[in-house]
């Protein structure tokens, strides 16, 4: 029995060793194949900070908008389409734009170009607030210019809806026609009226539409419709609208829609974007990021 067992044993051993050797060879050959890959993985393990892609800038958006503004101004006026983008998540309702605008344009009492609408949403304890600054929408299809009997308010080739103060009759039809309530009438009042004297700073000239005008007596802009004009007089001189520069949260952006690499054009390609009362077909040039 013993002798019978041995050769048997020997054969088993042999098969075992053979299998082991074969397996080992297989593993070894696989290892040789994988080595460069493993090394390649190891090579990436010590990481380094890559430089940012050139298109992403670290400079303040105001500086960038300023640069883009200068670039746009080199183009002929009909190739520009000024738009404004307002990020409602960034707006803190500080009213700096409203105040800055009033100071820039010397706005009398009762005239406002850019109020900030403050809404409360939800019921306690689930509440939040939404802030909507409301400049003139500078619509592509403005209902206000359409109704003006004398064409005193009109759309400029760069998309700005402007008013010819020296032509305007003061019929206030455009005020009724604006779906956004963006127009005010200059009633001829002064902030310091009914005080011993009207303060001289209220009689300082303003420069809307690039015209020097002093509000006095019945002279324009008294008795005219007035509204936001994207600070045309500042744009002409290479400056951003006042509300853009005074916005502490950098929530208001301004630029040329026709510049595909520009900041505003990139901002409005977002699912957050909306325009007010879009169903009316007015196509506002002011976009909101909600």
């Amino acid at each position: 029995m013993g002798s019978n067992k041995e050769p048997n044993q020997g054969r088993k051993e042999f098969i075992k060793k053979g299998l082991l050797a074969g397996g080992g060879l297989l593993v070894a050959s696989e290892l040789i194949k994988w080595k460069p890959m493993i090394e390649a993985v190891k090579a990436t393990q010590h990481t380094e900070v890559l430089p940012l892609v050139e298109t992403v800038s670290t400079e303040d958006v105001v500086i960038r908008m300023q640069k883009e503004l200068h670039e746009a101004l080199k183009k002929p006026v009909e190739e520009i389409h000024w738009i404004m983008v307002i990020d409602q998540k960034k707006c803190v309702a500080c009213d700096a734009c409203t105040v800055g605008c009033s100071a820039e344009n010397g706005l009398p009492p009762g005239v406002v170009y850019r109020p900030v609408i403050k809404e409360e949403i939800g019921t306690y304890p689930n509440v939040s607030r939404r802030f909507t600054p409301r400049p003139c929408m500078h619509c592509e299809n403005p209902p206000c210019t359409q109704v003006c009997p004398i064409g005193a308010t009109y759309k400029r080739p760069d998309g700005i809806v402007s008013i010819d103060y020296d032509k305007c009759l003061g019929c206030r039809y455009c005020l009724s026609a604006c779906p956004y309530g963006a127009r005010s009438f200059d009633w001829g009042e002064y902030h310091t009226e009914n005080t011993p004297e009207v303060m001289p700073y209220e009689l300082e000239p303003t420069f809307e539409y690039g015209d020097e005008k002093v509000r006095k007596g019945n002279k324009s802009p008294i008795g005219n419709a007035r509204k936001c004009h994207f600070c045309i007089h500042r744009l002409q001189n290479g400056m951003l609208p006042t509300c853009v520069t005074t916005c502490i949260g950098r929530a208001t952006y301004f630029g040329d829609l026709n510049n595909p690499n520009g900041l505003v054009a990139s901002l409005i390609g977002s699912p957050r974007v909306k325009r007010l009362k879009e169903k009316l077909g007015t196509k506002p040039s002011v976009y909101y990021l909600t």
Partner: protein
């Protein structure tokens, strides 16, 4: 009595002149208007008078175009009141401008997309048509007056007659009368679409405004037109009952005018019901809220008492009294006219009282940015003054021209003027 009447209305006219002067020097800050309620009492009066004018004119065409002889007695007075109502309407819109001194801009600069621009041209053509019609109608009588009158009056009549003098033989006179008849028809035929353009156009002025959902409807111009006919018929009823002495009044005339008025009121009610009920039916707040505020808000009475009671129910009741006196008919006319004023108010002001965007009313707070409007004393005084001026001119014209006379029954001037004082 006549003197007292002219004294009182003259005094009011002076107040009106003062108000115009004050308004022109001080600007629109004298009004209670705001940037959000940009049209107020003066615009209400403007569309009221334009409507009155178009209504009166369209009634006059019944005589001169459609040859309805039974209305001939009111033909001239209808044209004359159409003229003076138009003057009143244009005066109201003139003082409502921020820069009245630039009114000529409207004729120099044009804007084909603006209804208002078209309207201004319509008003002018319309005024020319009325003036031409009045001249054709009255030239014979005026040239007689030129011969009779002396001094300043003669000068005025000569001016008004524009060089026409009555022919010396009856053959030529007959020829001139035929010419008048022909021209009245031609002018009337041109006048009908013009008058419709004048008032339906004024309605479109509101109807096209997409921002005000209550106005923005195809029914708005129609509503303007039909209520113009209502006010025109009511004015004719009132003037006829007042100006023609009782013993000379033609009862069938009063009756048929009354019937016409009821018909117009009924059509008007139908359109009002269609417009407002459709607006109220769905829960879309844009129009529904405005209508609810108008009917059940703070000023509910303008709709229920003014528009419905004074403007429809009372006149219909007064006119349906079978043996009603002419005083009752005059009252019905007066009540309708007051009612139509309320209609005009409700067509203009309520649409402004809703904020176009939630939260805008509190975004920047100032008296001139309110969504509220109550006319102040100055606006009322100015309005009364302006209306007095127009009534004064109208009375002077009635007093000196043979407006209420017809070929059949001539009344003398004194009697006609006696009637004037009752206005």
């Amino acid at each position: 009595m006549k003197r007292l009447y002219f004294f009182i209305i003259g005094a009011f006219s002076l107040v009106g002149l003062w108000a115009i002067y004050y308004r022109l020097t001080e600007g629109l800050k004298m009004t209670a208007l705001t940037s959000n309620v940009s049209w107020g009492l003066w615009v209400v009066f403007y569309i009221f008078f334009i409507g009155l004018s178009a209504g009166s004119f369209l009634l006059s065409t019944m005589v001169y175009v459609f040859n309805m002889k039974q209305y001939e007695k009111i033909g001239k007075v209808a044209l004359l009141s159409a003229f003076f109502s138009l003057v009143a309407g244009l005066m109201f819109i003139f003082i409502d401008l921020g820069h009245p001194e630039r009114f000529w801009h409207a004729l120099v600069y044009r804007q084909p997309t603006s209804i208002l621009s078209w309207e201004i041209h319509f008003y002018l053509i319309y005024m020319l048509i009325i003036v031409a019609e009045l001249w054709f109608l009255l030239r014979e009588d005026i040239s007689r007056l030129v011969i009779k009158a002396k001094g300043f009056k003669k000068f005025v009549f000569k001016l008004v007659s524009i060089g026409y003098s009555i022919p010396d033989n009856s053959e030529k006179l007959e020829r001139d009368r035929k010419q008048t008849h022909k021209w009245m028809k031609i002018l009337g035929i041109i006048g009908i679409p013009t008058a419709i353009g004048v008032h339906a156009g004024t309605g479109s002025l509101f109807g096209v405004i997409v921002a005000k959902h209550m106005w923005n409807s195809g029914l708005t111009p129609i509503l303007f037109l039909v209520s113009a006919l209502v006010s025109g018929a009511a004015l004719m009823l009132l003037l006829y009952a007042l100006l023609v002495p009782k013993e000379k009044q033609d009862n069938t005339m009063l009756k048929s005018l009354g019937g016409l008025l009821i018909l117009f009121i009924a059509v008007d009610l139908l359109i009002v019901a269609a417009k407002y009920l459709v607006g109220l039916y769905n829960y879309v707040p844009d129009e529904r809220q405005v209508l609810l505020n108008m009917m059940f808000g703070e000023r509910w009475y303008i709709f229920w008492v003014g528009q419905i009671m004074l403007g429809a129910i009372i006149p219909i009741l007064l006119l349906s009294i079978k043996k009603g006196s002419s005083t009752l008919k005059a009252l019905a006319g007066l009540s309708t006219i007051l009612g139509i004023f309320c209609v005009r108010w409700n067509l203009v002001v309520p649409a402004y009282l809703e904020s176009p965007m939630p939260g805008l009313e509190t975004a920047f707070v100032h008296d001139r940015l309110l969504f509220e409007y109550t006319p102040n004393l100055f606006e009322w005084i100015t309005s009364l003054g302006l209306i007095s001026i127009v009534i004064l001119l109208f009375s002077l014209a009635l007093n000196s021209l043979p407006i209420m006379e017809t070929k059949e029954g001539k009344e003398d001037n004194g009697e006609t003027a006696d009637g004037v004082q009752a206005i």
